[in-house]
Symmetry: C2
């Protein structure tokens, strides 16, 4: 009733779906992983810097996906990549993963399924959802994203995991196949992300773009993604502010 869909100046189309990068944009992976790493360390009578461990584990994320993006390795879901990377991170911190129970490693790996939302995420998504289809557009696999949504209370309309598109951002197919599942033109889909590189790739595939600034995703000393590095359609400091910009 009188609500006007936001029209992207760059695509010239009204936006029908607002899809979100998740790790860093909707949820605070560093705090969430570090919390579970600290509990793991205590349980195994170890002491190490849980934030540094989370950073090390996360640093292996892009290289692991690169093997798949380049075609050197067939599509493998993120849970499996996280699990392999966990072994490496543990060794780096002086722990032999072969001396830890499979069950404990599996549980720790699931910390990525239980990440806490940023304070504005749930409210912002609920508002945007009143007028737009909302969902993740993430490199996470479906079961990870569903667990995350249930734990954090993220009110998605749809969860299209990377195991459904069978590719990883920033390859164009990640964006294009997601739009196709929604029966939308790329220009009717907006990607909201805290990472300029993700938005750059989305724009190249014809999507509308929104930059959500998350200046502490990487902790207090963050140096990247503090400002928009492209003429993104919208810029906001939170998802509730993005809801304002979208008129939702």
């Amino acid at each position: 009733m009188g609500f006007q869909q936001y029209r992207s100046p760059s695509t010239g189309q009204p936006v029908r779906a607002v899809l979100f990068d998740t790790f860093g944009t909707v949820v605070d992976w560093r705090t969430g992983v570090a919390r579970e790493v600290a509990a793991f360390a205590t349980a195994h009578a170890r002491t190490f810097d849980a934030e540094a461990f989370a950073d090390d584990w996360r640093a292996l994320y892009q290289p692991a996906m690169n093997a798949i993006r380049s075609g050197r390795r067939s599509f493998t879901k993120l849970d499996t990549l996280h699990r392999e990377n966990l072994d490496q991170a543990l060794r780096h911190h002086g722990i032999d993963p072969d001396r830890v129970s499979m069950e404990a490693l599996k549980e720790l790996n699931k910390s990525w399924h239980r990440l806490p939302p940023w304070p504005d995420s749930v409210d912002g998504l609920a508002r945007i959802r009143r007028h737009y289809v909302v969902g993740p557009l993430s490199n996470g696999n479906t079961s990870l994203l569903v667990d995350m949504a249930r734990n954090a209370g993220l009110p998605w309309d749809v969860v299209i995991g990377s195991d459904m598109t069978r590719t990883y951002k920033p390859l164009p197919e990640a964006y294009l196949r997601t739009a196709a599942f929604l029966d939308l033109d790329p220009g009717e889909v907006m990607l909201a992300a805290a990472h300029n590189s993700d938005l750059r790739a989305a724009r190249e595939s014809g999507l509308a773009t929104a930059f959500v600034v998350r200046p502490t995703e990487h902790g207090p000393g963050q140096v990247a993604d503090l400002v928009p590095e492209g003429g993104w359609d919208l810029v906001a400091s939170s998802i509730t502010e993005l809801a304002d910009r979208l008129g939702a």
Copy 2:
């Protein structure tokens, strides 16, 4: 806190996800389609029996999918099959679809995206969702199911359309690929359906089963699926009653 997942006697496993057939089980396709058909007839200065038209349109559903199940035709999404079948149904009722605007036909085809829920569906799903992952396990495509959920207020955790599994029930892959996306064993997934044939196929693939009786899906003269025809794990006359049976 103290909640015990329902354990299926047939699979021996606790159920983690309850997935629902949609057309007939969660939504009343006949009433919904007939309502839009009646409006279409009025707009085009025609009179015909809207319920009979809905039945005729629906009768073309299984034959259209059979071409794909048998491999005679490559995977084609349900929106496209519905649209082809609409032309046939119109001709059967004396209307030349070529003399109707593409826009009007597209809108009428979208009546399948706007089906009303049965009175118990939204409450029942919301209750079950507190303790189980809930989603459709339908031959509908993703965009159809997402529109349906938004229109009817169906509180799904996840929407895995047939265009994601790229096959149609009752082929085993429809059930097995859906469980795999959720990272669950087939025995941790329950199919709830108003159709004995669907439950038979789900059980053959190792899923837990619940029969939800919908005695007026096909109108007042319904003759099929009035009683359970297998030893299904649970039998209920509504989704709220199913929630009771699941302890949710």
